[in-house]
C-alpha cells in the first residue's frame, strides 16, 4: 500500500475511533434537548427545547414526571470525591516516596497496594457490607464506602507518583542536603514543587474515579445514595431525557475540572515561560 493509502486508512480508523468514543455522548446531548414533558428519550426530536434542563432545576410547572432526586446525592458524591482525592493523593505520594528506596518486602507491599484496583468492585463492596454487618458497623457513604473509594483510587495515585519519581533526579535533593537543608524542608521546597504536576494528575485520577464509582459503593454506602446510585435508581422506574440533561451538565463539570487542571499545570511551568520571554526581549 502506498503512503496516501496508509494515511487514508489511519484517518478512517481515527474517525471511527472518535465516533465510537464520543457518539454516545453526542446522542445523549442531542436527546437532552427533546421537548417535554411528553417527549421521550428517543429519536426523532419532536421539538427542540431546554425543558429538561429547567425540569432539572424545578423551573417547570408540576407534571407527572418527578424531578430527579439527585440534589443531596450530588453533594454527597462531590464531598466523597474530594475526601477520597485528598486521602488517596497523600497516601499515593508518601507511598511512592517510600518506594524510592528498596526495602524489605517492598515487592509484596507493591502488589498489596495495586490489588485495590484489580479486585472486582462488586465483590469488595459486598465483602465490606458483610464485614460491617458482622462487626456491627453502620454503613455510610462517608464511612465504609469512603474506605473502599480510597482502597480503589490509592493505587492509581500511587502508580502515577511512582512514574513521576522514576524520572526524578535525586541529585537535586542531595544538593539541597549538602547546603545544610533538612530532608523535610528539602521535600517541601524542592521535591514537592518538582513533582507537583504529577500530584495534580494523581488528584484528578482519584477525584474522577471516586465521583462516578458505582459497584463498590452499591453495597457499602448504606441508606444515603451517592450520585451514580441515585441516577441508577431513577432508571428502574422510567427513563426521561432529564437524565440526559443531567449527564450533559456533569460532562461540562468534568470539562471545567480538566480546565482547572490545565490552568494549574500551566501555572507550574509559567515561571520558565516568563523567563523565556525575558530572554527574547
Amino acid at each position: 500500500m502506498n503512503a496516501t493509502g496508509i494515511k487514508f486508512g489511519l484517518g478512517l480508523y481515527t474517525a471511527l475511533f472518535i465516533v465510537f468514543l464520543y457518539g454516545p455522548l453526542a446522542v445523549l446531548a442531542i436527546l437532552s434537548f427533546q421537548t417535554g414533558p411528553e417527549g421521550g428519550p428517543q429519536f426523532p426530536i419532536i421539538e427542540w427545547s431546554t425543558y429538561w434542563y429547567k425540569h432539572l432545576f424545578g423551573l417547570t410547572p408540576p407534571s407527572r414526571i418527578a424531578p430527579l432526586p439527585i440534589e443531596q446525592a450530588l453533594v454527597r458524591s462531590l464531598t466523597l470525591a474530594v475526601m477520597t482525592m485528598i486521602v488517596s493523593t497523600v497516601l499515593g505520594v508518601t507511598a511512592a516516596q517510600a518506594f524510592r528506596k528498596k526495602f524489605r518486602g517492598s515487592g509484596v507491599v507493591f502488589y498489596l497496594i495495586v490489588l485495590g484496583m484489580m479486585v472486582p468492585g462488586v465483590l469488595v463492596g459486598l465483602g465490606m457490607a458483610l464485614v460491617a454487618n458482622t462487626l456491627g458497623i453502620d454503613r455510610h457513604w462517608w464511612g465504609t464506602a469512603f474506605v473502599l473509594h480510597v482502597v480503589y483510587t490509592f493505587p492509581f495515585a500511587f502508580l502515577v507518583m511512582l512514574a513521576i519519581f522514576n524520572r526524578f533526579d535525586p541529585s537535586v535533593e542531595e544538593a539541597a542536603w549538602s547546603l545544610g537543608v533538612t530532608p523535610g524542608r528539602t521535600f517541601r521546597k524542592i521535591t514537592f514543587p518538582l513533582i507537583f504536576p504529577g500530584v495534580l494528575s494523581a488528584m484528578l485520577f482519584a477525584f474522577t474515579l471516586s465521583y462516578d464509582e458505582f459497584s463498590r459503593t452499591l453495597f457499602a454506602s448504606g441508606r444515603d445514595l451517592t450520585l451514580p446510585l441515585a441516577i441508577y435508581g431513577t432508571f428502574s422506574v422510567e427513563v426521561h431525557p432529564n437524565v440526559f440533561a443531567f449527564g450533559v451538565l456533569t460532562t461540562l463539570f468534568s470539562f471545567a475540572l480538566l480546565g482547572t487542571y490545565a490552568v494549574l499545570m500551566g501555572l507550574s511551568v509559567r515561571r520558565a515561560k516568563r523567563f523565556a520571554i525575558q530572554e527574547e526581549a
Binding site: 537535586v172 549538602s178 547546603l179 545544610g180 537543608v181 530532608p183 523567563f275
Partner: protein, 357 residues
C-alpha cells in the same frame, strides 16, 4: 598545615563488591586537592561517602576534628558540586544561590537584605552578573557550572567536594574554568576536593593529587612528584605519559617481553614489578646508530604520528606487538618525517627509567 578531613580505613562495598577497600588520607586545610582515578576506581563513591549520601561499611571520617560518619548530610557542612550541576530547575539563578542561606537548618539567614547582599557578592565573584533573574533552563553549561559553585560557596562550607565538575563542559570552556576554579578557591580559602578521570586536569588543578586505584589510595603527592615519580606501574599508567613494560628484575637488568633493559636509575618497591619510561624521554634514531654507554635501546616499527602543535607523538609497534609512544617537543626542532613500517631505534638514558620491584 592542619588537615581538615581525615579518612581512616574507610570501606564500602556494593552487593559484596568492594568499592572502597580501606581509604586512608588526610586533606590539608585551604588547599586544592584533586582525586584522580580511572572509571570504576571508586572515586565518586568516596566523594558520596564523605558527603554523607552513602554510609561507609567501616572506618572513620573526621571533618574539622569531629567524627562525621553517621551524621546526616545536612549537618556535615560539606559542600557538593555535582557533575550534572543538579540545579533547582524551578528556581531562578539568584534563588538557586540563595536557597542554602535561607533554608539551612543551622543558622539560616532570614533577613532578605543580607541574603540579597551575599547572593550579589557571590554572583560577582563567579562572574554571573546580569543573569540573576534568569531561569536555569535559560543559561549555558558554563554558567550552570558557576551557579552550582556559587550556590555551594555562598553557604561558606570549609570544604567543597566537586564530582567531575568540568566533565559536562566542552574542551575550551573546561580549560578556562580550571583557572577560574583555582582563583575562586583561593579567594574563598576553602578546601576543594576535585574528582576527575583526566590526568591533565588532576595535575593542573591540584596542590595535592590523590590517585585512587581499585578502592585504595595508590599515591598522594604534589603534581610534580607524581608526574616524575609515580609510586607504581599502575599509577604511571593513569598518568598516560609512560610506556610500561611488565617483567622482573634479574641481576643488572629488567627482563621484559621486548628483551633485557639495563638498570641504572632509581628502583622503587611497589609490590608489582614494572619498568616505565616517559614518552618525552625517548629519542628516535636511525636503526644503525649506536647507543651511548648509558643508554637503553630497543627497536620498533613506525606506525603513525599525531601532531599537537607544540609536540608530536609518534607511535611504534614493538616486536611483541605492544604499542610504544614517543613524545617529541618541537620547540627546537621541526617534526621529522618517519617512514611507515620502517624500523627505528628507540633510545633512552638508563637513569630516566623508573623501575618498580
Amino acid at each position: 598545615m592542619s588537615s581538615v578531613l581525615q579518612l581512616k580505613n574507610v570501606r564500602k562495598a556494593f552487593a559484596g563488591v568492594p568499592a572502597l577497600a580501606g581509604i586512608d588520607a588526610a586533606l590539608a586545610d585551604n588547599s586544592y586537592i584533586s582525586l584522580l582515578g580511572p572509571s570504576g576506581s571508586g572515586k565518586t563513591t568516596l566523594l558520596r561517602v564523605i558527603a554523607g549520601f552513602e554510609q561507609p561499611d567501616g572506618g572513620e571520617i573526621l571533618f574539622a576534628g569531629r567524627r562525621i560518619d553517621g551524621v546526616p548530610p545536612h549537618e556535615r557542612g560539606i559542600g557538593f558540586v555535582f557533575q550534572n550541576f543538579a540545579l533547582f530547575p524551578h528556581l531562578s539563578v539568584a534563588q538557586n544561590i540563595a536557597f542554602g542561606l535561607e533554608n539551612r537548618a543551622i543558622d539560616p539567614v532570614t533577613d532578605g537584605r543580607i541574603v540579597a547582599a551575599r547572593v550579589r557578592d557571590m554572583i560577582g565573584l563567579v562572574g554571573l552578573s546580569g543573569l540573576e533573574d534568569r531561569a536555569i533552563t535559560q543559561i549555558s553549561g558554563g554558567q550552570k557550572q558557576r551557579v552550582a559553585l556559587a550556590r555551594t560557596l555562598v553557604t561558606e562550607p570549609s570544604m567543597v567536594l566537586l564530582d567531575e565538575p568540568l566533565g559536562a563542559l566542552d574542551a575550551n570552556l573546561r580549560t578556562r574554568m580550571r583557572g577560574e576554579l583555582r582563583t575562586i578557591r583561593e579567594r574563598c580559602g576553602v578546601t576543594f576536593l576535585h574528582v576527575t578521570g583526566s590526568e591533565t586536569e588532576a595535575l593542573a588543578m591540584g596542590d595535592t593529587v590523590l590517585v585512587l586505584d581499585r578502592g585504595r589510595i595508590a599515591q598522594s603527592a604534589d603534581a610534580g612528584t607524581l608526574y616524575s615519580r609515580p609510586a607504581s606501574a599502575d599509577v604511571a599508567r593513569f598518568l598516560n605519559c609512560y610506556n610500561i613494560f611488565p617483567g622482573e628484575i634479574a641481576g643488572e637488568s629488567f627482563v621484559s617481553p621486548v628483551g633485557a633493559l639495563a638498570l641504572g636509575g632509581l628502583t622503587q618497591a611497589s609490590g608489582k614489578p614494572g619498568y616505565a619510561i616517559r614518552y618525552d624521554r625517548v629519542s628516535i634514531r636511525p636503526r644503525d646508530a649506536a647507543p651511548a654507554g648509558d643508554e637503553v635501546r630497543i627497536e620498533g616499527s613506525f606506525v603513525a604520528s599525531e601532531y599537537s602543535g607544540a609536540a608530536v607523538n609518534s607511535f611504534f609497534t614493538l616486536d611483541d606487538g605492544r604499542v610504544f609512544e614517543v613524545e617529541t617537543h618541537l620547540s627546537h626542532a621541526a617534526p621529522e618525517a618517519y617512514e611507515e613500517r620502517g624500523r627505528y631505534a628507540l633510545v633512552w638514558k638508563r637513569e630516566d627509567a623508573l623501575v618498580f620491584a
